[in-house]
Symmetry: C2
Subunit: 212 residues, 2 copies
Amino acid sequence: MSTGHVLLGLLSRGPQHGYDLKRAHDSRLPAGKPLAFGQVYATLGRLQRDGLVTETGAGKAGGPERTFYDLTDAGRAALAEWLHTPEPPAPHLGGTMFVKVVVALLAADRQTAVDYLARQREAHMARMRELTRDKESAASLGEVAAADYTIAHLDADLRWMQQTVARVDALAGEIAEDATAADEAGGDETGGDETGEDEIAEDQTTHGEITR
Amino acid sequence: MSTGHVLLGLLSRGPQHGYDLKRAHDSRLPAGKPLAFGQVYATLGRLQRDGLVTETGAGKAGGPERTFYDLTDAGRAALAEWLHTPEPPAPHLGGTMFVKVVVALLAADRQTAVDYLARQREAHMARMRELTRDKESAASLGEVAAADYTIAHLDADLRWMQQTVARVDALAGEIAEDATAADEAGGDETGGDETGEDEIAEDQTTHGEITR
DNA sequence: CGTGGCCTATTCACTCAGTGAATACTCCTC
DNA sequence: GAGGAGTATTCACTGAGTGAATAGGCCACG
């Protein structure tokens, strides 16, 4: 629960209430993924339930009632633990691009895959130009560092795409093999014999390519 | 709903039931994020509700009852659309690393941030070696391409970490400024005056560093 | 021949994450 | 004194994901 840990971090500077936490989050991590108010309160609720945070009084100061939360010792320990522990580096495939290429080859044809990669490349380049501009006009080093992070990954994507365009034919071949292998195995499916296949076959029509 | 699109893609080769879809998924996208059986049926349910998929008969073939699903025209259109459209490239900050560095500087000190980056670097390097080995013993080009994708991103992370270690001092300064600015603004909080601050202050103790 | 274990196939109950709208109070302005 | 802007929280709902439960048929082994 990464959001929870961020809230713990923000609370480490002293008691806060939900609304302020949300604003602190936005001001300190403007590049982070947007955090809705609702999410803040839900997360605080869970943190409290888990004993990482306690209510530490309420009150109104020129506005509606508000509830302050503060770290417990367990909360401080959890935060320290989180800061101490490296994130598991990409245990499983992160992005959608690889999946999309495979599905394109599976459901359509290599042209679809190549076209997709071209369009994705354009989108990446555009975003990259945008980020580079942002970086130039950045007010803080934080913004620059955030932009650099994203740029590094866009660049990684671009390299991979270039590599992959060159491999599309080979990949397509591989996937076709798998498919025919599976098709030949056909009725073998279950291990049981073909008998008992009753109400199927209503709609064995459209098998073919999707190209749009 | 990326999982949904993958299922549409797998169904484009002909009617399938949930169990087989799960297996097809595992065999074609072994590097992808794990997909539980439950998730398959839940997603199929949503696809059916949205008219992208229909039940196309059921039957038992040496085993329990099973339900086949097939694409509808709307489903084929949705799949083609998905394959046609590039993914929005990283609209907001992806990874946790940046967040963790900022929180480390906020809640603890620069040493904590630097230590974290060192440990994270080790974890990344280890994973990278692992992936390189995997690549050498890879049976298919698909596996190689998947590994290359991940490696490219680990490499991007490593570059960014190196850059960031060098910037930690400056970042720490920036964050400290923000903090003192916020602290000075202090009671200003709401715009209302200080009156009405009632039941607070039960626990203004531990403010300081967390270092563990 | 019967029973215990494994594979097939689906469902269920539950938690977390995320979204958007609703509510309610106060202050400031016109 | 009415309306709008800002503050603060709650609610209802959808989706993603997990783990266990259920249930039938197959095969191996005693």
